[in-house]
């Protein structure tokens, strides 16, 4: 398959997200597939953004392992990423401001210095951020994307700013394109453009659009990364879509308002991350008890506590399973990709209303914030809307309406407030069929038993309605990779790569976490030869859940908890190591030692310092082997000292300035 990965590195405020967006939309309009991931690198000084845009002729399900072209918007990005650019690729940079040390480049990597002021001189005074557009123009030429399509994207992007702004942007884009055409040879990408237009969309946008399409009329939230972009989308589209969007004083209000709205009969949703969800838990049990429909989106980020606000993790599974006291019916769905985010919300609203219970959708920063192209038919207008049994009037002369009537299915037809004759209290203390409390004077063990069974029985029908997971790939595979949530795409890609290397693997992905298809999953797992659970947390929360539900312990684990998403190569290498019986090493690698040194520089040294040569010392006065990281001057290349990093513990033992070290 033909594909290219473009990395754009710069500081916050460099406008690189807009540049990435223009590139991605250009590729998407040409009929190519795109997957992008924006990583906030903590290793580079000054707050740094590292955006990877992967473009290909086939559906892409992760940001991949490669880097073909680097657009460096500052010196840090050159130092950090130039060495990652693969042969046949290129490094684009503003040669007015930045220097490229050719020794950083691998063989056959093309340096593309762009003298931005000379290139834009004929266009008069242009703002500094326009260096991105020059680079983008040059990139289009180098990787063979159509100029006019990109100009069209810019035209649409700046439509609201008027023709003058459009003209300036397109002229600068053209100047970059023409400059590259004059001075460089294209990198040799030959694409087949189908011109099939596909939506380029994040998981959070898919949640929001899915909700609106399914009839959501109420969305409440308290700002919290990485769930906030749902709130932003909803607020920006509220008037057009006829939704009430409420930013509340805290997550307690958020979820209780949504429950109130759900009880009153509108489709209501709220969203948060792990910390906010912790505040919501009591109310989610309340929704289970009063049988009010509500959809809650939990977008995980690195924990525990406030943790890693802009990093990804799948560490909230235990919290979501453990949310609220007592047993209560609820559904937990973990969509695996952006298209499933859309369909998960549709399913969630239908289940929430048909079975009158809370539905929790689990996402994470990776799934919620990364954009990708999906098929147009993934976003359907005519989604099914199933509201469940509603009582629209009640004749009181035939006796009191029983809000919680004990039925075989456990579902008691619901009457919304305002319905003639069906007055009742929806009570969070346990109650009888009519909603009368059984907690105080009317305590009745058998009534309590039957209402509890009624509520919980609803889950049997929910489970029957949900499709059981299926094993994808060869039945007789040597190894089975098990995942849930956002890892679906990257595991699928790892399975393909393993096949290329002669290892037959298959993939079991779980979307419906609760209620759980324990029987079906156990049957599948019993047929598997070697099982590995892949999840982005420290303790293997899903593997433990799998054992609890099926009695089956997986054979091995692949876990990650450094805040960055899995990449296919990482999984492939770990699978091979597991199959070879090689134990997992937790030692600090040379690459990690460089990043730890960057962290030390950022926190304790100055702008001029950067890591230089790195060597391993077996013992240097410490109880473990040491990475000896030379720190050199950016300006002069002179050695300034060294940082000593423990290979086992990762401790930054010492900074030794050159005078002391010599």
């Amino acid at each position: 398959m033909r594909e290219v990965t473009v990395g754009i590195g710069g500081a916050a405020g460099d406008g690189l997200d807009k540049t990435g967006d223009t590139l991605a939309k250009t590729a998407a309009r040409l009929g190519l597939y795109v997957y992008a991931y924006n990583s906030y690198q903590s290793v580079i000084r000054g707050g740094h953004i590292w955006l990877r845009v992967r473009i290909g002729e086939r559906k892409l399900t992760s940001h991949g392992d490669h880097l073909n072209v680097l657009i460096a918007l500052n010196q840090d990005s050159i130092e950090r990423h130039a060495r990652e650019v693969e042969s046949g690729g290129a490094v684009l940079y503003n040669s007015d401001r930045l220097k490229l040390d050719p020794t950083l480049l691998r063989d056959h990597v093309l340096p593309v210095p762009l003298p931005v002021s000379a290139i834009t001189k004929p266009l008069g005074k242009v703002p500094p951020v326009m260096q991105n557009t020059v680079a983008l123009g040059a990139l289009l030429f180098l990787i063979g994307l159509d100029f006019e399509t990109a100009a069209g994207v810019l035209t649409d992007t700046f439509k609201h700013k008027g023709q003058a702004v459009i003209d300036q942007n397109v002229a600068i884009l053209r100047a970059g394109y023409e400059y590259a055409k004059e001075h460089f040879v294209p990198l040799g990408y030959r694409w087949t453009f189908t011109h099939v237009r596909r939506p380029f969309i994040t998981g959070n946008e898919a949640f929001a659009i899915g909700a609106v399409t399914a009839g959501c009329k109420f969305y409440s939230a308290y700002p919290m990364t990485p769930a906030s972009s749902i709130l932003h989308w909803m607020a920006a589209h509220a008037d057009r879509c006829g939704i009430v969007v409420k930013q509340c004083e805290d997550e307690l209000a958020v979820v209780n308002m949504a429950i109130g709205a759900g009880y009153a009969g509108v489709r209501a949703m709220c969203g948060t991350s792990g910390g906010g969800f912790a505040l919501m838990t009591e109310a989610i049990g309340q929704a289970g008890m009063i049988e009010a429909p509500v959809v809650v989106i939990e977008v995980q980020r690195g924990g525990p506590s406030t943790g890693l606000p802009t990093k990804t993790e799948q560490g909230d599974l235990n919290q979501v399973f453990g949310a609220s006291q007592g047993d209560y019916p609820r559904v937990i769905i973990a969509p695996g990709d952006v298209a499933e985010c859309f369909s998960a919300v549709v399913t969630a609203f239908n289940l929430a209303e048909k079975y009158q219970l809370p539905v929790i959708i689990m996402s994470d920063l990776l799934l919620s914030e990364h954009p990708e192209t999906i098929e147009p038919e993934d976003l359907r207008y005519d989604v099914p809307i199933e509201r469940g049994e509603l009582v629209t009037e009640w004749d009181e002369s035939k006796g009191r309406y029983k809000r919680y009537a004990f039925t075989r299915s456990g579902v008691s037809p619901r009457a919304l407030p305002g319905t003639e004759g069906a007055m009742h209290t929806a009570a969070t203390d346990d109650h009888d069929e009519e909603g009368i409390l059984i907690s105080d004077v009317f305590t009745s063990p058998p009534v309590r038993r039957k209402i509890h069974e009624k509520r919980m029985r609803k889950l049997e029908a929910v489970l029957r309605e949900l499709p059981p997971p299926v094993l994808e790939g060869p039945e007789d595979a040597e190894v089975t990779l098990i995942g849930w949530g956002s890892t679906k795409g990257v595991i699928r890609e790892a399975v393909e790569k393993l096949a290329e290397e002669g290892i037959r693997a298959n993939h079991l992905h779980i979307t419906y976490l609760f209620p759980f298809h324990a029987r079906e999953v156990a049957e599948i797992l019993r047929r598997c030869r070697k099982t590995i659970c892949v999840e982005a947390n420290y303790s293997g929360q899903f593997a433990r859940y799998l054992r609890a539900e099926t009695g089956i312990s997986v054979d091995a684990h692949i876990r990650k908890y450094d805040g960055e998403p899995f990449e296919p190569r990482y999984i492939v290498e770990r699978v091979k190591a597991i199959l070879d019986g090689r134990p997992l090493s937790l030692e600090v690698t040379e690459e990690e030692a460089r990043e730890i040194a960057y962290h030390y520089i950022r926190t304790h040294l100055d702008e001029d310092a950067r890591p230089g040569r790195i060597s391993r010392l077996e013992r240097d006065g410490f109880e473990e082997p040491i990475w000896n990281v030379e720190i050199v001057s950016r300006e002069t290349g002179r050695k300034r000292g060294r940082v000593l990093i423990g290979i086992e513990t990762g401790s930054t033992y010492r900074w030794e300035p050159e005078e002391a070290a010599s």
């Binding site: 399409t213 409440s220 004083e249 109130g260 009880y263 009153a264 009063i290 407030p417 305002g418 007055m423």
Partner: protein
């Protein structure tokens, strides 16, 4: 304007009798809520009583109307959700001082600053009754309770002053020993367009041996009978809200007309949300998708 057809108090007779202690102040409040709804001619189907947790929060179960018995401290938030989903309903929150001024004080303040059109009746007995007699946010200083055997070291919250500075547009205090007067205040609150607080002295006969019926009867006087008192003057109201001792004012402290939260929501101009068609128009949906291209 449509003429109001008053409804008898029996209209709202609940399925079961209250399980409050004999003599509990909450009986008077329950009666006053029913009287207020009846005076305004509100059909039971159009009335939603939302409560939290506590003795007084059991009130929705004792009245023939829609009700939500929600979590401790969360009644106001649930009520706001109901009101925004269906603003044709009359939404009345009933609860206690612990529920509203303690664990739920955040929602209380923010609901007032929003001036959302709900009515909040707080049965303030200055004690935690359901948990058998601990200090509450309105327990007076030095009062001994199970949790403050040396006497309460904290001064009480002043709910009237808090409501005035938080932006409530109808602020009143009643006494459950005078249900007629209280019903008038509650009816005024329900009829008022905006957030209405009716703080009610509702004595706990079991656990509060200080703030008893006789204690209040000796002290309360009605602001309506106070010559020259102008309830549209917020500073005068604030001044009165600090009067506590031999004389304690009840009645309407403050009322003013301000835009309500619901006015700020364009979606609500097309009628209650609950009656809107679920699906967006196809043209709108297609615009949303086009933005992604």
């Amino acid at each position: 304007m449509a003429t109001v057809i008053e409804l008898p108090i029996e209209t709202y007779a609940g399925p079961v009798d209250p399980d409050w202690c004999p003599g509990c102040g909450d009986f008077g409040v329950l009666k006053a809520v029913k009287m207020a709804a009846g005076r305004l001619g509100i059909q039971p189907k159009d009335l939603v009583i939302v409560s939290g947790i506590g003795c007084s929060s059991n009130l929705p179960g004792f009245i023939h109307a829609y009700g939500v018995h929600s979590l401790h401290g969360r009644a106001v938030a649930v009520a706001e959700g109901i009101k925004l989903a269906n603003h044709a309903l009359h939404v009345v929150v009933t609860g206690g001082d612990g529920d509203g001024y303690g664990i739920g004080v955040g929602h209380f303040i923010h609901a007032m600053r929003r001036n959302i059109d709900i009515t909040y009746v707080v049965m303030n007995n200055q004690i935690y009754g359901l948990t058998t007699g601990q200090a509450s946010p309105t327990t007076m200083k030095e009062v001994r309770t199970k949790s403050t055997p040396r006497g309460n070291p904290e001064p009480p919250i002043n709910p009237i002053a808090l409501a005035l500075v938080s932006g409530a547009t109808y602020v009143a205090r009643g006494f459950s020993g005078d249900p007629d007067h209280l019903a008038q205040l509650i009816a005024g609150g329900i009829a008022h367009r905006g957030f209405a607080l009716i703080d009610v002295f509702s004595p706990c006969v079991t656990y509060n041996k200080v703030n008893t019926y006789p204690w209040f009867k000796q002290r309360v006087y009605k602001l309506e009978e106070e010559a020259g008192y102008d309830p549209s003057d917020v500073m005068a109201a604030l001044h009165k809200s600090f009067e506590w001792g031999d004389r304690i004012p009840i009645g309407l402290f403050y009322r003013d007309e301000h835009p309500i939260y619901e006015d700020s929501e364009p979606a609500l101009r097309r009628g209650p949300l609950v009656r809107h068609p679920l699906r967006p128009e196809r043209a709108v949906f297609e615009e949303l998708i086009e933005e992604l291209m």
